[in-house]
Amino acid sequence: MRTLFILIRKELKQIFRNKGMLPIIFAMPLIQLLILANAANYEIKNINVSILDYGKNDFIPELSSHLEYNSYFTLKGVDYDYSNAIARLDKGQVDAIIVLNNNFVRQFNSEEAQIQLIINTIDGASSGIILSYLSDFMGQYLSQNNSSSPLINMQYTNKFNLKLDYKTVMVPGILVILISVISVFLTAMNVVREKEIGTIDQLNVSPITKLQFIGGKLIPMAVIALGELMFGIAIGRLIYGIPFMGNPITIIIFALAYLWVMLSFGLIISTRAETQQQAMLIAYVFLVIFIMFSGLFTSVESMPTWANYISQAIPVTHFITVMRSVMLKATPLHLLYKELIILLASGGLLFTLATLGYKKTE
């Protein structure tokens, strides 16, 4: 036990001695959290539209003022021929064009009024939302002159996130990713660095057991990462007002299980790589896959089935789910047993592999 304690102290000293790395470990993640929380946003605030009018329709002013009044749309102009309208689209000036054909007025009160919506799909993530907003708007605009109302009235409640605020969701998720990136990279470089500078030989000939060695590497990083996580949650709450509805103990239990998995993973890379550069590249490959399949930026629901399996095999997915559930929904521990079992099982597996991968006799 004393040996382990001394090893932990050694690691902590080495981390805090390296003045070049300190800002990267502590400041960079938090700065990124503060900035990037604002960037991750699918919410459409401003849709630029133009009108292409073939028939010089005299109700254009009315339609324009409706568009202007609606806070989602900005009218960029009215064109009278196709090539001018498409040029706006090519320049990226507008997201959608409303096309009115030449006998629109005559047919306005009949049901055959023809409208075409041209949607710019180049910014794909939002094109579906633009389409639904714009067709909702046009539908309402046209039905003003038409008394029929829909037969089924669907009301909805947005539970847990009343205003559909993206920051509420993104801050916990981005925080998890930043902490994973820092801790996996640092552990991946750790052992291989000792190999490169030769200090590993000194450790190998000393009476330190494998478990003590691995524990001495894991525990300091886990403490730092857990501290950053807590600090990040506090910052999210103070600056962005992210709610914390659940039990903090649940988060701590899951965070420890999660860090056990991720740090063991970093150590596996580190004990097998030959150079720091290799270790970083391998860690990078996996981290990018973890981030993209975690369901944070593109939801798990929108992946094909095979990708769903990958997503389920990734610890990040489960920890993000837990963070969201506990923070926003106050989900109690017993409803999250599935995630806990998965994290503990993968932690056990990876930790064993990490311990086996480190050979003292090499």
């Binding site: 960079m28 604002n38 509420t168 590249l281 896959i289 789910t321």
Partner: protein, 367 residues
């Protein structure tokens, strides 16, 4: 000049000697493009939901079946006790609960509206918005089927421009290309230069007949060549595996890609001019660039949705402009006259990176 060629040869030897890294450098872009090209979409499928049916009528059953029959939604459970609705959402077993009013089926004949309610798990706003839009369409269809007499003709037609089938690959592949190139090129250049500094070889190089700029050029050229091969790989994959169009000029695309490559290499040189430690260089190049390149460049989240301050900030991220250029040339098929702004910003940023590096680069032994 001869010295430079020998030096480049030496660098290539270094690169080829580390076969593991080489495999990653070439394999990584291919694996990422294939994995993400197929997996990243914005369309929802198989969203789990529960129903609390107060109406218990044939009409409500038909509605439930209709929703369940689509690819988008999968019925998980019927809830009979209203207290359980919240729990279904809290335990993450369903994404929404559909509540059908008790007089849903009786309302129609009397000309009243049938009422349904939707309890959405909005802890992921994107899914919540999508679910609502999809359900709206299904319900409109449903009421037209139930009451064909009220059927309206479709007065609105929609044309999806540039990407008619809204293929996700079209949207993600340009982003992935910029993302992969930035990180790999910046990472490799920064590490190769700092390694010489950290190990002390830089001093040996500086007393050799090579001039400082030749050292940098010699270090960077091998990685430039590797990255060009990567660009070609990604473009070919995009074309033949994902059917990415190339509506614009191939020459323009190649030139713009070279400009962006130069920019990423310059970024790597810039990072290495600020530090003597490989660890710091690697962490800045990978951990520091990873999320900003992903989130601020418009790769995943549209730049136009960001707050104004961040929109300006995204303008200094080179990937932002390269993604616009790629999408413009490949999908829109537009020429250089539409892309002058993006191209000149990229060129300016490259010049800026290089001139700062020249100023900072330490050719003396002690600072």
């Amino acid at each position: 000049m001869k010295e430079l060629i020998y030096f480049i040869k030496k660098e290539f030897l270094h690169i080829f000697r580390d076969s593991k890294s080489l495999i990653i450098l070439f394999g990584l872009p291919i694996i990422q493009i294939i994995l993400f090209g197929f997996a990243l979409t914005n369309e929802i499928t198989n969203v789990d939901f529960a129903v609390y049916d107060n109406s218990k009528s044939h009409t409500s059953q038909r509605l439930i079946n209709k929703i369940n029959a689509t690819d988008f939604f999968t019925l998980q459970a019927y809830i009979t006790n209203p207290d359980k609705m919240e729990e279904a959402l809290i335990s993450n077993s369903v994404k929404f609960v559909l509540v059908i009013d008790s007089d849903f089926a009786q309302s129609y004949p009397q000309g009243k509206q049938g009422k349904i309610q939707l309890l959405l798990d909005a802890s992921d706003p994107n899914i919540a918005t999508n679910i609502r839009a999809y359900l709206n369409n299904i319900i409109t269809d449903f009421s037209q089927e139930e009451f064909p007499s009220l059927e309206k003709s479709d007065f609105m037609t929609v044309k999806m421009f540039y990407n008619p089938q809204v293929k996700s690959a079209y949207l993600f592949i340009p982003g992935l290309m910029a993302f992969i190139l930035t990180l790999i090129s910046a990472f490799m250049t920064s590490i190769t230069l700092t390694r010489e500094k950290e190990l002390g070889n830089m001093e040996i190089l500086l007393i050799s007949p090579l001039k400082p700029y030749q050292i940098i050029v010699g270090k960077v050229i091998p990685y430039a060549i590797l990255s060009i091969i990567n660009i070609a790989n990604i473009l070919l994959l995009g074309k033949f595996v994902f059917g990415m169009p190339l509506n614009g000029s191939l020459l323009l695309l190649s030139l713009e890609s070279l400009l962006f490559l130069l920019n990423s290499l310059a970024l790597g040189i810039l990072i290495s001019s600020f530090t003597n430690s490989r660890q710091v260089a690697m962490m800045v190049a990978l951990a520091g660039l990873l999320l900003p390149t992903m989130l601020l460049s418009g790769f995943i989240f549209p730049v136009s949705n960001m707050p104004k301050v961040l929109q300006y900030f995204s303008q200094v991220i080179p990937a932002t402009h390269f993604i616009t250029i790629l999408k413009g040339i490949m999908i829109k098929g537009i020429g250089i006259s539409y892309l002058i702004k993006e191209t000149s910003i990229l060129a300016l940023l490259t010049l800026l990176f290089i001139s700062i590096s020249i100023k900072k680069f330490n050719v003396r032994l002690d600072k």
